[in-house]
C-alpha cells in the first residue's frame, strides 16, 4: 500500500496565529546538521517543518509547527535546536485539541 500524503492539506485545516519573522525554534549551527547522519528531525516532525536541502543541510520553517517538542527530543544528543514556545497568544491554536 503506497499512499501519497500531502502534509500541507492536513495543516491547512489548523488555525495558526503566526508571529511574523519571529520563529520560536531555530537551528543553532548549519554545519552540525550537515554532519548529522540521521537528520531524524526531517522524518520525525509531524508537521514536516524540517526538510533536507540541496546543500546537504536542513531547512526549518516553523509556520506549521504543532509545538509538540519532538524535534527537541530527537536532537538532544546534538543540541542543535534552540527550542522555545511562541510568544503568548501566538502559534497553533487548537479548535478541538
Amino acid at each position: 500500500m503506497s499512499i501519497v500524503v500531502k502534509i500541507e492539506e492536513k495543516l491547512y485545516q489548523n488555525r495558526y496565529i503566526v508571529d511574523e519573522s519571529r520563529p520560536h525554534i531555530q537551528i543553532r549551527n548549519d554545519a552540525v546538521c550537515k554532519s548529522c547522519e540521521s537528520q531524524a528531525c526531517t522524518v520525525c516532525c509531524p508537521a514536516a517543518c524540517y526538510t533536507k536541502n540541496e546543500t546537504g543541510s536542513v531547512t526549518l520553517a516553523t509556520d506549521g509547527c504543532l509545538e509538540c517538542g519532538t524535534c527537541r527530543v530527537v536532537c538532544q544528543d546534538k543540541e542543535n535546536i534552540q527550542w522555545d514556545y511562541p510568544r503568548g497568544g501566538y502559534g497553533i491554536s487548537y479548535k478541538f485539541g
Binding site: Q13, C44, A47, G88, I92, S93, F96
Partner: protein, 433 residues
Amino acid sequence: MVEKFDAIVIGAGPSGNAAAYTLAKQGLNVLQLERGEYPGAKNVQGGIMYAAELEKIIPDFREDCPTERHIIEQRIWLLGDDNYIGTNYRSDAFNSDKPNRYTIIRANIDKWFSEKIREAGGLQICETTVTELIRDASGKVIGVRTDREGGEIHADVVIMADGVNALLARRTGFQQELAPQNVALAVKEILFIDPELIQQRFGLKDEEGVVIEIMGKVTKGMVGTAFLYTNKESLTIGIGCLISDFKEGSIPPYKMLEDLKNHPVIKPLIEGAEMKEYAAHMIPEGGYKAVPQLYGDGWMVVGDAAHFNNAAHREGSNLAMASGRMAAETVIELKQAGKPCNAANLAAYKKKLDDSFIMKDLKKYRNLPGIMHENKQFFGAYPDTLTAAAHSWFTVDSVDKKTKEKEIMKSFVKKRSIMGLVGDAIKLVRAVR
C-alpha cells in the same frame, strides 16, 4: 510594586485547572497563566475522560460539562495487513445516570473548566508565556517572569502544570531532558461526520459511545498504539509510537496515520467524514522510573510535566487532575496551618501521591516500558502470526483441524521459538503483576 499571590498555576490543562479550581474554591488568591489564546488552545488529548477524578473536584460536573458520548463498549483490536483480531466488551450497565467514562473534545472541556475557575474567584490570564521562574538568594522559587512587559509576579508557591515539555523545570535544572525512549509522539485527526452514520456503523443510540484501542502492523513494528473514538458528531483517529523508534525509522508520523485511515478494516468506519483538525502531541511514557523531582522550595510539578501517565491503561488526564488537586490541597493545608511552602513542608504532596492510585499504579507497571522497548516482537511478529492463525482457523477448506492446529503452532514457534514464547509470557506477566 510587584503583585503577589498565594499561588501561581502555570498552564490551563487538566492538572492546572484542577489545581487552580481547588485553590480558588478554598478562597486562596490564585493566578493561572496560559500561553494559548484561550484555555485549551495548546492542549491535545485522544480523548477519553474518566469521571471519578473530576467528580472529586466538581461533584455535579455532569450538569453542564460538555462531554461527548459515554462509553458503553470497549474494543481492543490487533491489526494485520488487511485483517484484525479483536475483543469487545459492551454492557448496558454503562448506560447509568453517572457514567464512568466519556469521549471528549479537549478544548470544550478546558473552556468549561476555566469558567468554573473564574466563578470560584481565580484570576486567569491567557496569551501569556512564562519565560522564567524567579528565585531568591537561597534558591527558593518566589514567582515567575512572563513575556509581557513588567511581567514579574510573585507568589508563595508556583505550581508548574506546563505539560510534557516542562520547559520551566528543565531550564531551572529541576528536571532532566526527556529521553527519546520515555516519550511517545502521537498524531491525530478529528473527522466530522453525520451522527446517524456513527450510530449505524458502531451500533449505538443517543449518546452512547464506542472506543477502539488498536495495536498491530500499522505501527510498522514500532512500540506504539492507535485509537478510534466516537464523539457526538465526529470521530477521533490517532496513532503514536515511541520517539526513539520514530528516530530510528524512516516513516513520518503523518504517513503512519494515513496508512491507518486507509487500512481495509478502518476505512469503512470513517468513510465520508471530513477532517477538521490535525494535531500532534508528546505523551510521557517512561512510567515510575521517569518521574522527576516533584517539589522543592516554593514549587511543585503536576500532570504531564511530572510524567504522570499510565501508558498500560491509557490513563493520563485523571492522573493529571488528581495530582493538581493534591498539590492544591497541600498548599491549602499549609496555609491553614500558617506554615511556609518550603521543600520540607511540600513533601506532604509527595506523600499524598505515594498513598494514591497515581504512584501505586505507576509502581506496579514500573518495568513495562523497558520490556516493550526491548521486545519489539509484541508489535511485529505477534500481530502477523496471530492474524494468520485466525485466518487459517476460520477458513473452511477441507483441511482437518488437527493439521491446522499443528500448522498454527509451527508458525508461532518459527517466529519466536518455544523459549521465546515462554520468555515473552513470563516477561509480560512480571511486568503487569
